[in-house]
Amino acid sequence: MNWFFMIIFISLTVSGRAQEYYFRQMPSDYGRDIQEISILFQDSDHMMWIGTDNGLYSFDGRQYRYTPLPGGSTQTVSTISESPKGEKWVGYQDGSIQIITSKGHSESINTNSIKGFPISKILFQKNGDVFIATYGKGLWVIHKNQFTRLRFQNLEHIDDIYDALIDRQGRLWLGTDNGVWIYHTYPEESIDNLHRKNGLPDEIVKELEQQSNGDIWIGIYDYGLVRYSSVGKSINDTILSKAEEGQVVSLVNGNGDEVWVGFEKSINHYSYNKKVRSIKLPDDLNEHITNLFFDRTGNLWVSAGNKLFVANTQLDLRIPGVKEIQAIAVMNNKLWLGCKKGLFSMDQESGSLTQHLNEENLNIWSIYADPQGCLWIGTSDQGLYIYDPERNGVKHLTEHNGISNNTIPNIAGKANQTWLATLGGITEITWTDHPVKDELSITLFQEKYDFPAGFVYDIYVADDQKVWFATDGLGLYYLDGQELHHFTKPMLKLGEDSFDLRTIYSVTADAQNNIWVSGTKGNIFKLDPKGNLLEHISSTVGSENSLVTSGQGEIVIVSEGSIQVQNQITGISMFGATTGLTSFSPNINSLALDSDGSIWIADTEKVLHYKSIGWDSSHYVRMQWVDLTLTSKYLSDPIKLSSDSNFLDFHFTGVWYTDPGSVRYRYMLKEHDEDWIYTREGRAVYSKLSQGTYTFVVAGSHNDDFSKSVPIQRQIIVSPPFYLTWWFILCSLLFISFLAYLYMRERIRRISRFHQLEKEKTTFQLNAIHAQVNPHFLFNSFNTLSGIIEEDQVAAVDYVDQLSSFFRGVLLHRDSELISLSEEINIMRNYTYILKKRYGDNIVINEYIETLEGFIAPLSLQLLVENAIKHNIVSDVKPLTITITIDHKRLMVSNPIQPKIQSSSESTGFGLSSLLTRYQYLTSSCIEILNDGETFTVSIPVLQLNTIT
C-alpha cells in the first residue's frame, strides 16, 4: 500500500528536547458539575468561551459565567463559531444551535431535521450562507433562511463530518471517514476528494486547520497530521504520532506559521522551519488532553477533562542541566552558557550539553559572540578568553597583555572591534580578520580618551553605531566614531523629581535612538538623544535591572522575579508569577539577543526565552460588559431611567489572560463624577441621579497605563421627575387657574350674598324699629299706662321702666346679627310684661326653658310672640296661651289658632317671611312652621357658637 511507504519516506518524527512552558491551572469553580470541557473558543472581543458537557460558559480568566440555552436544557457543547455580525453560534451534541447576539441575547434556531446529531462545525460563507456540518446527518446549509441538506453528488452519502473549514478561495473542506472533501460553488458547483491516492496516510480525517499562509493541516485518526500546501497543491509534511501519544485531538495555529498539535497525551509545537518540539506537560495534566486553543495574546490553552491550563508561549524555559549560569550568548544554533565553573554549549534542537575549554575553574561573568564566530569570554579575575569553537582555538589575555582589568562584567562589539567593560575601565580590542589567529590591537580608554578608570557594568552597541558605556559613579559615556563623550549629568530632573544618574547598571537604545538606562534602586530612565529625561519607570520588583532591546524593538527589562516588556503601542507588559517567574533572580546583563530577535535570559540553572508576539494595539486589556442583559433596563441604548428608580449597577470585565489578576479599572460617570474612580472590582453602582444625560465610561489596564486602553461606554438618560415634566407643569397651571377661577367665582357670589344679607338686615332693622314704634303699640302702651297710673303709681313706674327697658333692648340689638338667648328672653319678658299689663289674664305665657346657651336672630322671639297676638283673638272669653320651649337645638313658639275675624290692618306684611330670609343666611337649619289647624307652631334653630357659619 502506497501510504505505508510514504510513512517511511516522508516523515518528521517528533524530536527535540522538551520545551517547557509554565502551565497555570485556571480556576475550576464553574458553579455547576462539569466533567469535560468539550470546546474552547475566543470571540473577536477576546472573551474565551468554554463549551462543556454541562452547557456554555464565558470566562474572563477569573470567573466563569454560565450562558443558559433558551429552553433551559443543558447539553454538551460541540462547536462554537462567530458570525461576521459578531454573533456567537453554539452547536450542541443534540443537534440544537443557539445564537448569542453581540448584545448578549440568546435564541435558538429550528434544527429539528438534525435533532439528535451532533453539530461538528458552523461556518459562515461570504455570501451570507451558513454551513452546518453534522456528525451523522451530513452537511446542511442555511440559505436565505432555508435550512436544507446539501445533496450535491457525493455529499449525499457523507453522513459523518468530523471537522470543516472554509479556505481562502471560499471552498468548503470537510474531514470525513473517506478523506477530505472539498466542495465549491464557484465557478461551478463541484466536489473534490483528497484521499490515500493523493498522499493521505489514512482516510479518517478528524481535524482541519488553515494556516495564515493558506496551507491546510489535516489531522488523521491513528496517524498524526499532514500539511496540504496551497501553493504546490500537494500533501507535504507528515508528522506521525507515536502510539503513546494517542490520537490527534486538536490542531491550532500559533504565532506566524507555527502550529500547535494536541495529541491525547502530548502537545507538540511545529514551526515552519520543520522543527517539531514536544512540550513538557504539567504533572496536574494527568488526563487525556481534549482541546488546545491559542488565544490572541499568545496564550496556549489546554483542556483535559474538566481542567483548564494556560501557558504564555512568549516565555519558555529550558533547563540545560548545568549550575550557576552567569552569562549567555547565542551562536550557531547553540546556547553558550558561562557558568561559575566553565563554559558549556547547549544545542537548541537536541538539548545536548557540551563542556568547552576544559577549564573547570573558569568563573565566567560575560560572553560575547563576534561576527567571525568567536566567543569572547570575560571572567572574574581570570582575564579574557577568545575562543573559536569551530577550530578549537583559544587565546587568553590578562592585565599582563595590556587589558585594563582581569575582571570583566561585560563585553560587546561590532565587526572587528570589541570593547571590554572591566572593573578597571574600558579596553578596546581590534583585529583584521580573525581574533584568535590575528595579532590584536589593544587600547585602553584611560590612555586614549583620558577616561577616568573605574567600574564599567555594561556596553551597548546601538543601531546608529554609537557605543554606550554604563559606569559606576560616572554616569553614561558614548563613543561616536573616534570621539568619546560624557552623556548624562549627575542629576536629572523630571517635573518636581530629580534623580541621581551616576551609577548605571545597564544601557540600551530603542528604534528612535532614545537611551534607556537602569540606575540604582530599581529606577529606569528613558532619555532622548540629547540627554533629556523623557520617562521614569520605578520598578517595584528588583533593585538592579538589566535592559535589552529585542529584535522587535521592545525594551525588555529583566529584574528579580519578573520580565517586563515595554513596547511603543501598549506600554509595559509584565511576566511574573503567572508565567512561573517565582524564584527568578538572574545575574545582571546575563542576556543574549538571538538572530530572530528573541531574547535569552540566563538564571543560575534555567534559561528563559522571550519571543515577542509582535505587540499591536489589540494586545491589551479588552473591556466588556457583563450580565447587563439580565435587567431589561440596560437593553436600550442609551439607557433610559425614570427619576424615581434610577439605580445603575454596571458589571464589566477586562480580559487579560496573561495575568488576569493584574487588571485594574477606572471609570467615570461623566456629568456626575469629577474624576476617575479606580478599582479592581468590575462593578460600579450609582443611584439617585438627578435628571440629565450621563455617559458611563470604563477602561481597563494591566499596567496602569489607561491611555492605551480602549474604553467602553454607555449613555444614560435620566428623565425628569414627573413634577418637572412639561405636561405636568402645564396641567398644574391649568388646574391652578381653574381653582383660582372657582375661588373668584365663589368670592364674587359670597360678596353679592353678603350685600344681599346686609340689605335684608337693614330692611329688617328698619322694619323692626318701624314695628316697635308703631303708633298702635305706643297707643296701647300709653293707654294701659294711663289706666295703671290712676290705680297704682308704683306699678306705673315699674311699667314705664319695663317699656323703656324693652326699647333699649330693641335699640341695642338691632344692629347685631345674633343675640344670646338670655338677652332675647329678657327683651321678650319686658315685652310680655307690657302685654300682661294690657291684657291681664287674657294672655298666658308658658316658658319651658332648658338652656340659655345659644344664639338666635335678635328680636325673633319677640317677633313671634307679637305675631301670635297680632293674628289671634285675645279676650276674656278666649284667652291666648303662648308656649315658648327652648332646648339646645331649637326655640319653639306655639299658640292655639283663634283667628281674628278681620285681620289687623296694621299688619306690616313683614313678620315671618323676613325672619325666614334672615335665617337662610345664618344657618343651614330652617325655620319650621307647623299648622295642624289647632295649633300654630314656629320653630327656629338655636345656634351654638361652633355651628355658626
Partner: protein
C-alpha cells in the same frame, strides 16, 4: 449513541426477517479473546460464543458476546473478580459492537480486504465510538473477520482497585477471529 444501537439492532432483526436480495453474513460461534499485560500478572480469557452479522447491502454490522461465556482464566478467583468486580456481568451481561463498515466491499467476491469498522462499542454499559481496523477474507460464501485492538479501561469506566493496579493493565488487547457464512434469503 442509542440511535446507532437501534439501527444495529434493527439490521440484526432484519437479517432474519427481511426478504429480497438481502445478503447477510452471520455466525454464532466466533472467537474473541482478551489479554491484559500487567507487570505482575497476565490475564487472558476467550469465548467461542461471539455472535456476529454483516449486512452486505449497507455494510452495517452487529457483534455481540455474553460476558459470562469467557473461559480460560488462570484461577477461579480471577474469573470471579472479572465477572463480578470489573465487568459487573449481572448488571451488564453483554458486550456489543454495532455500526457500519466505512469502505464498501463486495464480500461475495473472494478476496482479502482491509476495512474499518466504525461503530459503538458497549462494554460495562458504557458506549464509546470506535473505529476498528479489520481484515476481511472472503471465499464468496463465507468471510473470516480478523481484528486486534486495544481498549483503555477508562473509556468504559471499568474501575480497578488500586491494590490490583499492578495486576491489570490500563489497556486490554482484544482479538477477534470469526467466520461468518452467507445466508441467502429467498
Amino acid at each position: 449513541m442509542p440511535r446507532r444501537i437501534f439501527i444495529g439492532t434493527l439490521c440484526f432483526l432484519m437479517a432474519f426477517t427481511a426478504s429480497g436480495q438481502n445478503q447477510i453474513f452471520k455466525t454464532n460461534t466466533g472467537f474473541i479473546s482478551f489479554r491484559s499485560d500487567a507487570p505482575l500478572e497476565i490475564i487472558k480469557a476467550s469465548s467461542n460464543e461471539l455472535k456476529g452479522v454483516i449486512d452486505q447491502n449497507d455494510m452495517t454490522f452487529l457483534f455481540l458476546v455474553s460476558i459470562t461465556s469467557f473461559e480460560g482464566f488462570n484461577t477461579e478467583l480471577q474469573k470471579e473478580h472479572f465477572y463480578e468486580n470489573y465487568l459487573e456481568s449481572a448488571k451488564y451481561p453483554k458486550a456489543t459492537f454495532t455500526g457500519k463498515i466505512i469502505e464498501f466491499i463486495d464480500l461475495t467476491k473472494p478476496g482479502t480486504y482491509s476495512a474499518r469498522a466504525k461503530g459503538q462499542l458497549t462494554i460495562h454499559g458504557q458506549t464509546k465510538e470506535r473505529i476498528i481496523k479489520t481484515e476481511l477474507i472472503s471465499n464468496g460464501n463465507s468471510v473470516i473477520v480478523n481484528a486486534k485492538f486495544r481498549i483503555p479501561l477508562v473509556d468504559h469506566q471499568i474501575e480497578v482497585p488500586r491494590i490490583v493496579n499492578q495486576k491489570i493493565a490500563q489497556e486490554i488487547e482484544i482479538t477477534v477471529k470469526a467466520t461468518l457464512t452467507l445466508m441467502k434469503k429467498s
